[in-house]
């Protein structure tokens, strides 16, 4: 079991109903971790439309979740 903090933003946060949550997961990759969240919250985005960041740096969906890290799911951006 890995203890993780998940961050949701914008439409993803509205859909999840939370901005942050702590989870214990056995997901082997960040993608699998997102897919668990997608089922849990019925999130509207498939992972291919998102980016993922770990501890304030962009990461790869195939990376292994690290104990105690903060994982942010990044929907398509619209700054500017």
């Amino acid at each position: 079991m890995t203890r993780l903090n998940l961050l949701y933003f914008a439409a993803l946060r509205d859909a999840a109903g939370v901005a942050m949550e702590s989870v214990d997961s056995e997901a082997p990759t960040l993608r699998a971790l997102y897919e668990e969240a997608q089922v849990r919250h019925q999130l509207p985005f498939p992972s291919r439309q998102l980016r993922v960041a770990v501890d304030d740096a962009f990461a790869d969906w195939n990376d292994v979740p690290r104990e105690g890290s903060e994982v942010a799911f990044i929907p398509p951006v619209s700054g500017g």
Binding site: A10, A11, A15, A53, V77, G79, G80
Partner: protein
């Protein structure tokens, strides 16, 4: 002073431009994004920006460093607003000083394009009809 930063308060253009002044710079190009009263044909009442603030700060700083390596410029800055904005408000400012105007224009355009593409900031638009939505380009209308 950070070359990129997020601001919850109105952007002070004069003070920012002054930080770019240099006796070696003959050219200065700037871009400002203003909140428009319409978007894709819909009348807009106002909007709100939110960000993954630490990631946005790190990614924005990286973009400005890339610009300084890539273009023959003297210096550059970019500030993006967060929070509630009204029509006409300044949402984002980019300023670039350079010896010559080619590099100043080129870098200014590249910075705003790249900030819009890569920095985790999201726009929540409120419409005159009363509804509101998050803008997530290329992901359809969600939320």
């Amino acid at each position: 002073m950070d070359r990129f930063f997020l601001s919850h308060h109105p952007i002070e253009v004069d003070a920012l431009r002054a930080t770019l002044g240099s006796a070696h710079a003959g050219a200065f190009a700037s871009f400002e994004g203003w909140v428009r009263d319409h978007n894709e044909g819909r009348p807009v009442a106002g909007l709100r920006y939110e960000a993954h603030a630490r990631l946005a700060q790190a990614e924005g700083a990286k973009i400005l460093e890339e610009a300084l390596r890539t273009f023959a410029i003297v210096d550059a800055r970019c500030v993006h607003r967060l929070g509630d904005l009204g029509i006409g408000d300044l949402a984002v400012w980019v300023g670039v000083s350079a010896a010559h105007r080619d590099a100043a224009f080129g870098a200014c355009r590249w910075i705003i394009d790249t900030v819009k593409a890569r920095v985790p900031i999201w726009k929540h638009e409120r419409y005159m009809e009363g509804d509101a939505e998050w803008l997530h380009p290329d992901a359809g209308d969600i939320g």
